[in-house]
């Protein structure tokens, strides 16, 4: 990836969804437009955008907040908008940096369920977190510890065998 030419990067980025700890939502766009952005950037027409975005917002429990600006959403709602934006394109890889860092325990559990469901649909999900307990409680999650940028436990700790993957 580091050797990839600049022109090929957008294509790679469209195949990778990223959830940032600070959400990185565009503040002057509504939740709908933030979630729709990856589709529009990928060249989808408005008719191809409306349905999937509404569906994704409903999936993260924000169907009634579609027109809300990020500033009017709570931390958990912003986190879910960020997740919806990251997965709307059905990425092959989802990277989430402290996705539960700004939400309460109940919301953290809900988000982990969302990631698990996404993983079952075929997306590889990589989560960076300090909350080891949350990951340990997630069936099938492989835990890898990093210390000072080095993988300390390269074999990981496969707590439970992953469930059989569902057909998409």
């Amino acid at each position: 990836m580091t050797d990839a030419s600049r022109d090929t990067l957008p294509d790679y980025r469209r195949r990778i969804g990223v959830v940032f700890q600070d959400f990185r939502l565009i503040r002057h766009l509504s939740a709908f437009d933030n979630v729709a952005l990856p589709l529009r950037i990928a060249g989808a027409s408005e008719s191809e955008v409306e349905g999937p975005v509404r569906e994704m917002l409903a999936w993260v429990g924000l169907a009634d907040r579609a027109s809300a600006r990020p500033a009017t959403l709570s931390g958990g709602e912003q986190q879910r908008v960020a997740i919806a934006r990251a997965v709307i394109n059905r990425p092959e890889l989802l990277v989430a940096d402290e996705p539960t860092g700004n939400v309460d325990a109940e919301m953290a559990n809900r988000l982990m369920h969302l990631f698990t469901a996404l993983n079952r649909l075929g997306t590889t999900v990589v989560i960076a977190t300090h909350d080891v307990g949350l990951i340990s409680a997630t069936p099938g999650a492989q835990l890898v510890r990093l210390e000072n940028g080095t993988m300390v436990d390269p074999t990981g700790s496969l707590r439970n065998p992953p469930p059989p993957r569902e057909e998409v």
Binding site: P10, R13, R14, V18, R24, H28, D33, L37
Partner: protein
């Protein structure tokens, strides 16, 4: 074909309400106004120079020290092949001319009034031969080609014409520099949005189109406003005959000149848009 020009609602919202606006349309407007005034002056000077050059290209004078022998000089000129419109400037008119410098003394009968014969001649006139002949008729008679005597004036006019062109180009360059600065400012303002767009797979061209459209609209608004103001000033100048005469030497702007002037604001808009596009693309490649 021009779809890229028109931003969708979302694309307009991506950069928020302000975009590049602010000083940019005003700057472009001032540049457009100045370019048009300078351009019009340059074209008028070019027309004046052409008029003067055409009017003097085939015009000659023979200046005789006094009125005696002037009839023989006229005969010599008329006998020269190709000459036409041979006229003697009346002594009374010469005196009136001299009065401008000498005052009432010019009316004195004691004052020797030089004779002047004007005529047209083709380009292949043998000036040396004619000079020799009129000199033998009236010693001291001098053949003058008007294009030679007005040469310095014509050169000055041409110089001013090129100076106008240089100023128009300079103003275009200054407008380009202003657009680069405005574009860099806008890039800084919208850095977060650009980073997010890049992060989710936007290409440099997609980001560039947003700014390109903004600057195109700003530049078009500014250019047309400046052109409108310049048109009013030029019309006022043209309606004031004396002032226009001072400015243009009596020459008017032709249809082609007006077309060139009308295209200037659009050329400025295209330049600004191209500069913005190039500046954004370069900045994105450097910064991200």
């Amino acid at each position: 074909m021009l779809g890229w020009l028109f931003a969708s609602g979302l694309e307009r919202r991506l950069l928020g309400g302000r975009g590049l606006r602010g000083a940019t349309p005003w700057l472009i407007g001032i540049m457009s106004f100045t370019m048009l005034i300078v351009g019009a002056a340059g074209l008028a000077l070019a027309n004046t120079a052409s008029l003067v050059a055409q009017g003097t290209a085939s015009r000659y004078s023979v200046q005789v020290p006094d009125q005696q022998g002037i009839a023989s000089v006229v005969a010599a000129v008329r006998s020269t092949p190709g000459t036409s419109s041979v006229e003697t400037v009346p002594a009374s008119e010469m005196r009136r001319t001299l009065e401008r410098w000498l005052g009432p003394a010019a009316a004195s009968a004691d004052l020797p009034v030089p004779g002047l014969v004007t005529f047209d001649a083709p380009a292949n006139l043998n000036a040396a031969d004619l000079q020799s002949r009129v000199g033998s008729i009236s010693p001291g008679a001098q053949l003058i080609a008007h294009r030679d005597s007005l040469g310095p004036v014509l050169r000055s006019l041409r110089l001013l014409q090129w100076l106008s062109l240089a100023l128009v180009l300079l103003l275009g360059g200054a407008a380009g520099a202003a657009v680069v600065l405005a574009t860099r400012g806008a890039l800084d303002t919208h850095r977060f949005t650009i980073e997010v767009m890049h992060g989710i797979g936007a290409t440099d061209l997609q980001v560039t189109h947003l700014f390109q459209r903004k600057i195109l609209i700003d530049a078009l608004v500014g250019s047309l406003a400046g052109a409108f103001a310049a048109a009013i000033v030029l019309l006022l100048l043209a309606s004031g005959a004396a002032l226009a005469g001072e400015l243009t030497g009596g020459a008017t702007l032709g249809l082609l000149d007006l077309l060139v002037l009308a295209l200037l604001p659009f050329a400025l808009t295209v330049l600004a848009t191209w500069v913005a596009r190039t500046a954004v693309l370069r900045s994105l490649r450097k910064a991200l």
